[in-house]
């Protein structure tokens, strides 16, 4: 789904289409105009968030219970909210825009890129893991990761094979957990080490492994995007037209982005 390329202010009904999921791959850059204040606030807050994610990753074992709890607290804190806008739409919009602003700041050097990708991945991993099973599948489909969940009947018929192909699974977990059918080309690490069941070109991935695959995809996309931005850095920046309701129409500043 694509909006018109012209930079128009987005209002109303398109709200539902633009941010139809709480999580995204940040594939499309924001196409609206925002005020200088929002620009600044969004960027600073996301940066604070990423720095906190980084600190958490140092203080706690990543993905451990404590880590997850702390991250949960963080994301529900009031500072994550835009003043005066706490709707789901506002949250998602902020998430979207702030990510893209930081891309500009962090595309310049290898170190910056690596740092940014690492924190964004950790944040993404947590948020993806937090989704319900249905929302996970929705997310996958919306992002062209056409991964179907395996039906209960199929799981039953393949139960023994699934148990013997993935580490640490029992009959019970196979029944309870979701399995995803992923084209084998998207699960090469598991295929190479024969840690997954393959049938007709599809790898049957238990849900705790799907995160790895999605993360790989996330990292690849972000890495590519940063490389492109870096290349077009100065060109790109010229395109950002900020205007505010006050007298700052057409304000452009390169130095602004250096946080």
């Amino acid at each position: 789904m694509q909006f018109s390329g012209r930079r128009k202010k987005l209002i109303g009904s398109s709200q539902n289409d633009l941010y139809d999921h709480c999580l995204q791959f940040y594939g499309q850059p924001p196409l609206e105009n925002i005020s200088l204040t929002e620009f600044e606030t969004f960027a600073v807050e996301r940066l604070k968030l990423l720095k906190t994610v980084e600190n958490l990753g140092v203080s706690y074992v990543k993905n451990s219970e404590h880590y997850v709890k702390k991250l949960e607290e963080l994301l529900s804190s009031p500072t994550m909210y835009v003043q005066g806008g706490t709707s789901e739409y506002e949250k998602r919009r902020k998430d979207h825009i702030s990510h893209f602003i930081l891309r500009l700041a962090y595309c310049q050097t290898e170190d910056l890129r690596r740092w940014f990708i690492q924190q964004e991945m950790d944040l993404f991993r947590y948020r993806f893991g937090d989704l319900t099973s249905k929302h996970k599948t929705d997310f996958l489909h919306k992002n062209n990761l056409k991964y179907e969940t395996v039906s209960a009947e199929e799981k039953k018929s393949l139960k023994d094979k699934l148990i013997t192909s993935s580490y640490g699974l029992s009959g019970i977990t196979v029944e309870e957990y979701d399995f995803y059918k992923v084209p084998f080309q998207d699960a090469l690490d598991l295929v190479r080490t024969r840690k997954v069941y393959l049938l007709a070109g599809n790898a049957y991935i238990p849900h705790h492994e799907i995160v790895t695959i999605v993360l790989n995809d996330f990292r690849t996309r972000l890495s590519k995007a940063l490389a492109v931005i870096r290349f077009f850095y100065f060109l790109f920046f010229e395109e950002i037209i900020l205007f505010s309701k006050n007298a700052l129409s057409g304000y452009k500043s390169k130095s602004f982005i250096m946080l």
């Binding site: 013997t164 084998f184 190479r192 070109g201």
Partner: protein, 426 residues
């Protein structure tokens, strides 16, 4: 005697005849064009030729079937290899800006070479093969063919006898041709169970849980093991080979037990049964490890040994089907899997045989064919050639190739329809 005596010195005389009248150019071109679904697929394909005196030329490419024929008839290659489909015509690769000339697609290929089994076959070594060790190729084909079809979902596999000591597999599905280096290497690793070089004694190590792929492969190996390994290869016959087998058992008490038992029991089958019984007994013991020794031994002696490097590279060149093997004179012919049990590599026609068969007087061709020949020269030439190979032992192998192409053609049709639908080109 199906093979005329082949003498490599005759190649310079036989090859021109082969390329003029027997090589199935029309089917070959049809294969490599893949239905014309992708533009320039044939034109951007690299071929390499090995000419007389071992002169090797790469980056050969051709615009039409006719050009391919003329060049091969002119250059008379001793060997023909097929490489990748590139971003530009390989023959013009020097004119392309460095970095832009890239290998884009190629079939996924596997090369099973009998020399890789030298440490476990007693009948032959190096370039020799016999009907006893040929069983290893049958096992390899059955295991890999099943896995590539059932596990990986590929449909269009062409198995080819290399002409001397091995077999090749060309996986021609669209998805296979588009695989990255990483994906090819992952597929090859998934299919690899025998690991380690000369220094490694125990080349197969199994642990719980046993992956379904390994179980499938084991059931194939088990079908052949007793007759192939115990009877024909006699791996539990002489002291020397018994020692080799026992060296794979890490558990000393099993080794000791067997050494004593083998002093009296000389029957190899009974010896094997005892080994299996002891391993089975061990399984029920509390201590871990060694529960799969018997299976590991079977796999080490029989499981297919792949060269991952051959499969990995998109730009890797592999011997072409219908190429001649200069040392044996045998044609690299497609193998019909339905007749795999009766395939005999020593029955594969040599170039001398089929050239000789060509010279035999025509049995039934009537004058009506001559009338038809008055038409278009090329068509006539082609039809003559089709009649020609049909008179030789090459015919049945070209039929296998035809069936393979027909199956693929059905999928090309689907692709073309999809494409024209997308372009709204009704």
């Amino acid at each position: 005697m199906p093979t005329s005596d082949y003498d490599p010195a005759c190649l310079p005389d036989l090859l021109p005849l082969y390329y003029r009248r027997l090589f199935p150019f029309s089917q070959y071109y049809r294969w490599l064009s893949y239905g014309g679904v992708s533009k320039n697929y044939f034109q951007n394909r690299e071929f390499s030729f090995t000419l007389k005196d071992d002169i090797y030329v790469r980056y050969q490419s051709f615009t039409t079937q006719n050009e391919l024929e003329k060049e091969m008839q002119k250059m008379v290659p001793y060997k023909v290899d097929i490489g990748a489909v590139y971003s530009h015509r390989p023959s013009q690769h020097n004119a392309v800006k460095s970095g832009s000339f890239q290998a884009l697609e190629k079939e996924l290929v596997f090369d099973i070479d009998m020399t890789d089994y030298d440490d476990v076959r007693r009948c032959c070594s190096a370039a020799d093969i016999c009907s006893k060790c040929w069983t290893l190729m049958i096992i390899a084909i059955r295991i890999l063919d099943r896995a590539l079809r059932e596990d990986f979902g590929f449909h269009h596999l062409l198995w080819v006898y290399s002409g001397r000591r091995g077999v090749h597999c060309w996986v021609c599905d669209d998805a296979a041709r588009k695989l990255s280096v990483a994906a090819r290497s992952a597929v090859a690793e998934y299919l690899s169970l025998v690991k380690g070089g000369e220094e490694t004694l125990r080349k197969v190590v199994l642990s719980d849980p046993i992956h379904p792929f390994i179980n499938h492969s084991l059931s194939v190996v088990e079908r052949y093991f007793q007759q192939y390994a115990i009877v024909e290869q006699d791996i539990l016959g002489s002291k020397e080979s018994v020692d080799k087998v026992l060296a794979l058992l890490l558990t000393t008490h099993i080794k000791k037990d067997l050494t004593i038992y083998y002093q009296d029991e000389k029957n190899p089958m009974k010896r094997w049964d005892r080994l299996c019984a002891l391993v089975e007994h061990k399984k029920s013991s509390i201590k871990k490890g060694g529960q799969y020794f018997d299976k590991e031994i079977m796999l080490q002696y029989c499981y297919p040994r792949l060269d991952v490097n051959v499969s990995k590279g998109v730009n890797h060149l592999l011997k072409s089907p219908f190429s001649v093997h200069p040392k044996t004179g045998r044609i690299s012919v497609p193998i019909d899997l339905k007749e795999l049990n009766t395939f005999d590599p020593f029955e594969v026609p040599t170039i001398s045989l089929i050239c000789e068969e060509l010279e035999r007087p025509r049995a039934d061709e009537a004058e009506e064919d001559d009338v038809k020949d008055k038409e278009n020269e090329q068509e006539a030439g082609e039809r003559r050639r089709i009649r020609d190979y049909k008179r030789t032992s090459l015919a049945k192998y070209v039929k296998v190739f035809d069936r393979f192409l027909e199956a693929m053609a059905r999928s090309w049709k689907g692709e073309m329809l999809k494409k024209s639908d997308l372009q709204k080109d009704f």
